[in-house]
Symmetry: C2
Amino acid sequence: MKFFWHVLLTLFLGSMLTPSGVLLAQEDAPALNPEDIRTVKAIFDEVLVSAESYRLLDHLSNQIGQRLSGSEGAAKAVAWTKRVMEDYGFDHVFLQEVMVPHWERGNPEVARIGGASGTDLRVLAIGGSVATPEDGLSAEVVEVQSLDEVAELGEARIKGKIVFYNRPFDQRNISTGAGYGGAVDQRVGGASRAAQYGAVGVVIRSVTSMFDDAPHTGTLSYADTLPRIPAAALGVQSADRLTEALRKDPHTRLYLKMDCRWLPDALSHNVVGELKGSEFPDQYIVIGGHLDSWDVGQGAHDDGAGCMQAIGVLRTFQKLGIRPRHTLRAVMFMNEENGTRGGKKYAELAVQNNEQHLLAIESDAGGFSPRGFGVSGPDAVLEKMRGWLPYFDHNTVTFFRKGGGGVDIRPLHQAMDVPMVGLSTEGQRMFDVHHSEHDIFENVNRRELELGTGAMAVLVYLVDKYGL
Amino acid sequence: MKFFWHVLLTLFLGSMLTPSGVLLAQEDAPALNPEDIRTVKAIFDEVLVSAESYRLLDHLSNQIGQRLSGSEGAAKAVAWTKRVMEDYGFDHVFLQEVMVPHWERGNPEVARIGGASGTDLRVLAIGGSVATPEDGLSAEVVEVQSLDEVAELGEARIKGKIVFYNRPFDQRNISTGAGYGGAVDQRVGGASRAAQYGAVGVVIRSVTSMFDDAPHTGTLSYADTLPRIPAAALGVQSADRLTEALRKDPHTRLYLKMDCRWLPDALSHNVVGELKGSEFPDQYIVIGGHLDSWDVGQGAHDDGAGCMQAIGVLRTFQKLGIRPRHTLRAVMFMNEENGTRGGKKYAELAVQNNEQHLLAIESDAGGFSPRGFGVSGPDAVLEKMRGWLPYFDHNTVTFFRKGGGGVDIRPLHQAMDVPMVGLSTEGQRMFDVHHSEHDIFENVNRRELELGTGAMAVLVYLVDKYGL
């Protein structure tokens, strides 16, 4: 793409050089408030130029890094985000105590085709898994495509084996979340299903849209009534190598050694920063993300991005001198990844203190360009928000959809009927990086992250000004 | 982000796990044709699973690489794309001869603060620049923010100096194309403006949204009546270093050595592949990109992506057995970057042969997720296309806007009133990579690229079926 001098002006009306979406949208919605148009522009200008969320995320990712619940990284992140919000001079910054599950990966996992002295595969324990025996375990492998297939094969084929769930991420879904959702049952429920038929361990094909060999972890859920067996995720290429070995020799054995462990619940915290409302200080708008992450990569997209955006929303109000009518709360929820204890604790305290919440927003779909918002609440809320669509440039938010929210704000939504909103992002790259070594700061784009901050700040501004 | 077993279903309605946008959109547009809905799904399924555009782009980027007009790379790309389309068995594959400008960069450029033995800066000659004297040139530097400032300073301050245009890319524009368009006059017209007042050379701050030090090239336009002086682009950090040096010493000299040269015009080609129309074989729908690229990086986004998507559209029709009514032409235009000779030649031949064109589409905004289409043509065409919006998932195309197209199809549009359409992409990263060493295959995401192929294939399918 080039721009010749004499066609520059023409091209300003072209495909890349678009006039402001706000102005464009006005054609369809002439009733937009000029003051709001100015404020929306000021908000996006501020986030794009200051790039404050991005600067914060750099520190969180590169100076603190991994933050699994109960870890030293999580504790550091709590202390640091509290200090950041205090240093900004937010009106009130406080912690909410919450006891969280505490799981550790231990020494690097080992998976080898053919036994203890076989060929190394790339592998990560699935979060929450029990360890193997100290010397590892070795067993023949049964490859399946689904939990149902395990039930069909039954004890005769499964007992004493390692079950290998290999159903791939379905690339056909335009929504990568749907691709993920269509395969993740293997990671979450695969271990207990296999244990039900006597398996001694489980490996899965990593749930990812990528084709490289980085394994992707995540949580599992053991059924209370069944034996807990070790479960691990193989890189996609490693999974293919195991398939190939099984094709050549159906009696191929896999050696698995995992050192992970459960520790007693640990004391941790949600971190909350407030800008006090001028008219309704006791009515809250929550802007949230989760501060914990998996223990690989840096949790940059998942969900350092959402946390830094939440702080960024309040910081933008402060910087532009927009005094909110309601109290704005940036909430860094703890323990989304393996327990949701922070979200539950926040809701519990809100009920206990009879706090009125106008709205809760969560950003937990990665620090990518915003595409829209999903809304769970009365239809009237959705309709009101749709009326605000023309305020958004068409390169940012283009829809408000029914349904959506976030794992951390769901307990509040359910306990107190608080409308909840989730930021939808341009998510094609999300499951390339999700829960893996690829989820690092270098894979976050500054402008994409900041547009998310801006989109949420605009929605909060409008909700605060016009109510719901 | 995690997905617990028992909330999976709930989350399918959530922010990441969205139901099909087609189904959603149907609420608003119940008149959609079920056959078309199925075809649209089949098209996106095919491109996402086969990832054929991505596979081709891998070859073009990594096996052929840079393709500046007149270069060996450009010739290889012509031969290879012709063979690719022949190997697919397209109905007719042919070349259009076109004479193109031939400029070469020569040896790596040198820019040093303080003179020939000074501190190295990162630099690239601006495409089309003349060389410096063989031993380089050294002169004091005058930093300016605009072409107007050069005129204001006048000969008294400019004569004998190197003018340093340092106005940055304005990050405030949500459209990065607007940010680019607001700064690129320095690259295109800066040299002649400076020459008008007696400058001996020009350096510019690279026109990019990034803050690293990779210089970004592009074309310039010399005025016929003025001396041609050497012009180069500094990396952004190098530009900052030069500013800092000038702050300390306003008489700071810059040493510049450039070896670039103009050669006689070279014979090159547009490459055209056709699927013949079943009803209107003499009416054409053009799907285009430009095959030439700058001579840094691999031209992966700009515009290898658009070319491979154009081939991908025809390949998808072929693979799915969709026989078009009109003849579809995938056109790899030559010489977009520094002359548009290919686009002009195509239009010239279309006029000469009195070819009827129904529509021309170009993808030259990078291989990022599609966001929408810009349409230049009668309002009725725009309105008709808007009626097709519900066929697109909301994670793909969300708007048809007035205005847009492409540099290569503009001559056809102007010569024969052919409606032209440009693919608008999620463009936040475009000017991070554009015309620089960062424009490589590794920076293209498979799914994002393929969604662009799919979006264009769907539009072509609907235009072919329903006309305009």
